[in-house]
Amino acid sequence: MPTVHDWINNPLGIVDGLFAQSNSCPDWEKKVVEYFKEKLKLNDAHTWVPSLNDVPLHYLKPNSLVKFRCMVQDMFDPEFFMGVYEMNDPTSNSKQVKCGKYKDITEGGQVDFNSRSTVTSERQTFYCVPIPGESQWNSFAGTSQARVVPSTSYVPNRHKRSYEEDDEMDTQPQQMKDGAQSSAESHGNIEPKRQETEAPSHDSFPSHCTSSLDLNFPLPGEKGPACLVKVYEDWDSFKLNDMLEVFGILSVDPALSVIADEREASSLLDPTEGMETVEEQRVHSPPASLVPRLHMLYAQPLVHNNPLLPSSNFQRKAHLSSVLGELASIRAELLTYLTHVLLGDSLAAEYLILHLISNVYSRRDVLPLGKFTLNLSGCPHSSPFTEHLYKVIQQLVPSSYRLCMSLHNMNNQRMVPRKDYTANRLVSGTLQLANNTSLFLDETQLEQGQLDATGVRNITALGNLISWQKVDYDFNYHQMEFSCNINVLITSEGRSLLPSDCQVHLWPTLNPPNLEEYLSAVQVAQVPSQLNKYRIYLSVARALNYTISDEITKAVEEDFVEMRKDDPQSMSAEDLHRLLDVARLLSLSHGQNTLSRDGWMKAKQLEALRISQTPQQKCVNGNEP
């Protein structure tokens, strides 16, 4: 029934309706937010809302409610808008007070700029991109979930949409009263125009426009809609690189693009425009068909972007108990699977699991706690092994990126984001990643040669990322530190030139004649339902809480003293630190929230085994602690 979904199809009608009551109820703005929050809470109401991530932009109805799973890539300066304005209606020669919130453009008539009822308000603009490196299974899973949606919420073909518009026009007069009505009419007026122009423009734009307009995705080769999200409430709570699910009103009015075009053409003539550079205009007011505007009604910060898991905390708890039961069996299966992938090395597979569930859970001063950078050494040089290993990891984690550390990449890739003061934006880099992204550094691709200044900077940035989980963004006059939470896995032949928390040497026990065939076969053997189980397992284990009881702390302390007594060289503070990390991750991987004596012993055994299998190397490159 259309009435049920009016808040999705015509959210502005609801906003205007509440605004009309603003005289009697001064906090109508809060009411609007509350209204949509309530609606979205109902059952699985949020799945009815079409998603910008999955549905092509030209299938979405302008001014309807949409959702967007994204990362905050840049924060623009705040802008002012007329929250309330008065309009002269030329036909009836009367004045009307209108609400400008959640809109880019005033409707109809002549705005009376000198009116006393004008209220200037402020809103913040975020430049949002889809979460970088999101795996294919992730967005696929997202779509399949959206398919459950009743087909009325979005209409995948144009014929049907126009039908619905008629439908909407019919219902509107009953829905809205007085002031809101004219907005509906003007809304209807521009509609046909938009339909005609938009479809072809969308087809032709990307081909010639992507060259002139850089959408500023952190990773090369990324696609998807970038979005200017306008935030009205509480924008200080959002941070750069936050993952968000934004529910907002889509605004793709072509007039926005007209402004951009006109300004470019007239910039030479109009002195006010000369003060904003052409680059700046292009970045801050890109064509709406490429970068739609989204007026945020409600946003949910995402702790993880695994669509197989409920995103809200409350639901996750219930979900958790159901998963914990099967945890042991899933872990065993995953271990077998990874052992096959790692050519029969079960120790490496064990450490890979620990790595995949690691997470920076706290920071003490500058020291990030919980990171577990793994250096998988002994990987064959120039073989398809690392590529396949990455594919396997990509299948398991929600977002990931493989960085081939070839000389060309190191010398040419922009890794650290940089502020471009001419265009007044943050030019993204490979290392601008959302939390919990898996970064796969393939050092086997590195060859001999000269690193230039960029290369040296990039290596330094990678080193900082691994050691401190932070990236120093380049602001030209100064640098700014942005902490991150990225799982780094390094594959290399010998010991990596980058620092790492833990080095595991790969000792293959299988030697398949055709490596490539073997690895593909191993991957194909996993059925999707099995993979989904692994995905859920990894995300759940990662989010578990962890404590160490006083009793165990004491036992560990005594153990440490004991070990130092035998041979002080064998156990340094760093070793203890690593051992505690291993013990923590090992317990979590078994679904235990506390460290047991048993768990501690297991961790010790595991470490001892690893060290005995790691080839002893002399200090060669000065990266050793």
Binding site: D77, Y421, Y477
Partner: protein, 558 residues
Amino acid sequence: QLVAKDALDVYIEHRLMMETRGRDPADTHDSRNQYPSELMRRFEVYFRPPSTLKPKVVRDVKADSIGQLVTVRGIVTRATEVKPMMTVATYTCDQCGAETYQPIASPSFTPLIMCPSQECVTNKSGGRLYLQTRGSKFIKFQELRIQEHSDQVPVGNIPRSMTIYARGENTRVAQPGDHVAVSGIFLPLLRSGFRQAVQVTRFTHVTHISTSYQHTVEEDFYEKLAGSIAPEIYGHEDVKKALLVLLVGGVEQAPRGMKIRGNINICLMGDPGVAKSQLLSYIDRLAPRSQYTTGRGSSGVGLTAAVMRDPVTGEMTLEGGALVLADLGVCCIDEFDKMADADRTAIHEVMEQQTISIAKVRCRMSRARLSALRAAESETERSAESEVYLCLRAVRTRYISKCKQKQPVVPEALSDYITAAYVEMRKEARVSKDTTFTSARTLLSILRLSTALARLRMVDVVEKEDVNEAMRLMEMSKDSLQADKTNNTRAQRPADVIFSLLRELAGEGAVRSVRVAEAEQRCVSRGFTPAQFQAALDEYEELNVWQINQARSRVTFV
């Protein structure tokens, strides 16, 4: 009576004369034919905010500040060229010759076309107006963009920026990179287009810009300035002082064509992980011009300059390396000890002679005026031409460039003192088993250091205390080297050393006493601060080892 006359003065005078002469008081002129007050004015009015007003952060300037006078602080990230902006357009009519004026208050205006004068209107002669550039009034106009300081940005946020319109005398006050406090009226700028868009950007009209930098020389200015170098690194006060001095540099002298370098070279040595590299990179950021490079990554060619053949023309061209790029600045070379020997020689020339030779083409770069700051890990890398063997330093770039303009001289009266001190040092060096070497070089170093210190205080004459501090720094640098070899013996407290110094000074007479001033001088030249000296005096007096007379001018041993 009026002396200095430029075109505007002449115009104003003429216009005033015209007005008094031809004006009939009963005549009602068109307002456009009257002289607008802007045209007759030579002064500009600005507001200076009360000094008690605390500048705001860019992100705190919100919609409620619109139309109000606000003061914001930030760093300039962009400054346009200064352009003329028309404030009054003057037109002349091609028919009647009457002047018409159009005051302009907005960023854009529509030029007038038809002459509005009485004559043209009544005659319907259709006089056309022509813009007259010389008779119009222009003011200087500049647009700036400021951004928040990094310390004002909440964690995980992008710094905000704001556009500033500066007019008249407020232009050319700030350059990109300057820290400024701007007072002005905060106004939004309306964006409009095909339909009325409701977006507005933000900008401020300036009424006052001040660059946030004070010239006041405080009591413990030297300590504070040194402490402000890499404040995140604890301790290393003397190293920081040495680095401060490096930034300022000594005075270069050229008696009879011979060049005596004023630049100070520093080699920082120490165990791995004692913040040598951090200090180096801090200096790199602080120095107005600097080049950072690491020894392992650079060859002599890269550091100095490379000769390249242009592939198209076959011409030989010079490619500047780190040292050339750092001309008149600081070149920071990290991991100096890891550099190949052959390449290191290239740097020695620069440090010693301040020239760069390129042997390949037998040409000589005119001058290389830079200080080299090097960090090395082992003592074997000690080179004779580095004045201070220590590790660290930094300061406000602005202050330093101000300091560099000073050319302090060593007064005649001080030369005796310096000579005596040098002789003393030589004597001492001979008796001690010190591996360092006191030569005429040391004397030059002390002179360089003292002139640099005088520059720091922004004075024109070197004073005794500068020389003392210079000698103290040298002494500390030597001590820091010796500490390596003698660290198995118990470190002596400064008070104990001062005591033994005084005992030595007092001699073996029946009445063993020494003058306080003399004793202090001796102690300071040995690397102690006056405060330490005073503390030692009090301490031993309490122990009844010596007595100090009422005027505190003489110490007598009990």
